[in-house]
Amino acid sequence: MILPSLKIKKKNRRGSRSLAGTVGIFLFLALLGAFMVLPLLYAVISSLKPIDELYAYPPRFFVRRPTTENIEMLFSLAANLWVPFSRYVFNSVFVSGVATVGHIILASMCAFVFSKFNIRINWMFKLVVTALLFNGVVLSLPQYVIMAKLGLLNTYWGYILPVLPMSLGLFLMKQFMDQLPSALIESAGIDGASYFRIFTTIVMPTVKPAWMTLLVFAFQNVWNSNPGGIVFDEQLKLLQSAISEIVAAGIARVGVSMAGSLFIMIPPIIIFVVSQNSVIETMAHSGLKD
């Protein structure tokens, strides 16, 4: 039954837009998209510029004599670090991976309760939203003290644990789970599924677009953060801090820093493409007959 109806829909959609409309959309997106791409383009071009062009006045947008010396310098500097560069990459990937997955799991479990359970602590959710309002900079001092007391300084946990209860994820997941029909959960409950089973086999698959989107935000958040002062051991430092050290070490390293920032953008972009490709049409209502 589903297949033929989808076919009709697609046919109608395609038929309803003229060629001019498609071209119009394309032009419009290209116009706005140009401003999105410009900084990235600027970074790419700057990383290809030789030093005299980087410091030329008046500055030029395009490169005259492209060179790979910035990128080579980045890699040779990275190879000469006291701690092997791969160690930083591993640290960053490990910390971001564990923190992101943990955050999504904890946030979803909690959001499930706030959204679908009829218990008396739903006011706590408001507390969570208000947590988002508070300026993180000011909190860092007492946070540091409590981490010192818990012995989290100088460990991976110092990076990971504070990220797990980020409010943003809970907030997003709860808003998405509110859309989920309660009847779906009730019917599974009547059929004898445990809450854990309902959570893993019904709720999570249905809100997949939500956590796929959260994956992007959370990964991005952890990957780009460079919490200072939590870890002193060079072995445990993150890629961000390694690259900023490389960049800060020399004055004439604008090109290198551009190359470094491009390098650091690669994983979030990969995560983004993978996650958004899997956000396909979901049938949040497919389990129900109205």
Partner: protein, 298 residues
């Protein structure tokens, strides 16, 4: 004994218990990493703060820090100005992100490519990448770079300059473009959330529209818009929080100034006061909107 008691409990009781089990990990985390620091910060705002061997020593002092920050200095004015800007930007961000999300949700050639393009702000405008850009621009020193969009304009200006276009035309183009670009650069997350929202609308509703012969206009206002209201609400709250706590805002700059210069009481007072201001704004907005949200379920 205990086990049999568990089975005798009512459905609601059991549900509640399981709920707590699901909540506990999160709650512990929030208590340790948010609640404690939060109340500590509020407490610090009423105190004289000093340090001794890795611990914070506080002596209660009263509301001195608040009168200092809010009455004697310009913080209140900065804060309210920024809240005004926040509301204005939120409205613009919402309009532009709904618009773009609807376009990006349609089927056309290269859709996933454009989605990546319009989500670039999420990836570019944070962390090291941003600081590298800003560092580069402060070096290039034409404008003091304070916000995400400046490097935008900078790049645009440079591009136009290198194309050999006159100064005056550049100025007009840049101001017109910069406000749109400004908004676009704040909309990355919102566009993504709206796309996810649009995906969750059941296609059968649109089939009904096609069968009944609804125009695209009717389809938007009668189906898409009402079903998007939860996401609009989500995005309003997200945008207000995001924009009001933008690290490039003057208010945030002042707070960081207090903090970095060890005026911890002042920093805490400023943060608490600003927090309360945003809270009031959000409270009013969510009260006004909460009854207009359409849930399929309820």
């Amino acid at each position: 004994m205990n086990k049999s008691k568990l089975f005798k409990m009512s459905y609601e009781r059991r549900q509640g218990l399981v709920g707590y089990v699901f909540l506990i990990p999160w709650m512990i985390g929030t208590l340790i990493f948010f609640c404690y620091p939060f109340f500590h910060t509020v407490w610090m705002s009423f105190c004289d703060v000093s340090f001794d061997a890795g611990s914070i020593i506080t002596h209660f002092k009263g509301i001195d820090a608040y009168t200092e920050v809010f009455l004697k200095q310009q913080f209140l004015q900065q804060a309210s100005t920024h809240l005004g800007t926040t509301l204005l930007h939120t409205v613009c961000v919402l309009i532009i992100s709904i618009f773009l999300a609807i376009i990006l949700n349609q089927e056309f050639f290269g859709r996933s490519f454009w989605r990546v393009i319009f989500s670039l702000p999420i990836i570019v405008a944070s962390g090291l990448v941003l600081s590298v850009f800003q560092k580069d621009l402060t070096f290039q020193a034409s404008v003091t770079s304070e916000s995400t969009n400046i490097f935008q304009n900078e790049a645009l200006t440079e591009m136009l300059l290198s194309m050999g276009i006159g100064d005056k035309i550049i100025e007009v183009v840049v101001t017109a473009v910069s406000s749109v670009v400004d908004i676009l650069w704040m909309s990355g997350v919102q566009i993504l959330l709206f796309i996810t929202g649009l995906q969750s609308i059941s296609p059968s509703l649109y089939e009904v529209c096609d069968v009944e012969g609804a125009t695209a206009w009717q389809r938007f206002w009668r189906v898409t818009f009402p079903l998007l209201t939860p996401y609009i609400f989500l995005n309003i709250i997200y945008s207000i929080i995001d924009i009001s706590t933008q690290s490039t805002a003057e208010v945030m700059y002042t707070m960081r100034y207090y903090y970095n210069n060890t005026f911890y009481a002042n920093a805490s007072a400023a943060a608490t006061g600003y927090f309360l201001m945003i809270l009031v704004v959000l409270g009013v907005i969510s009260l006004a909107l909460s009854k207009r949200i359409v849930y399929i379920d309820k």
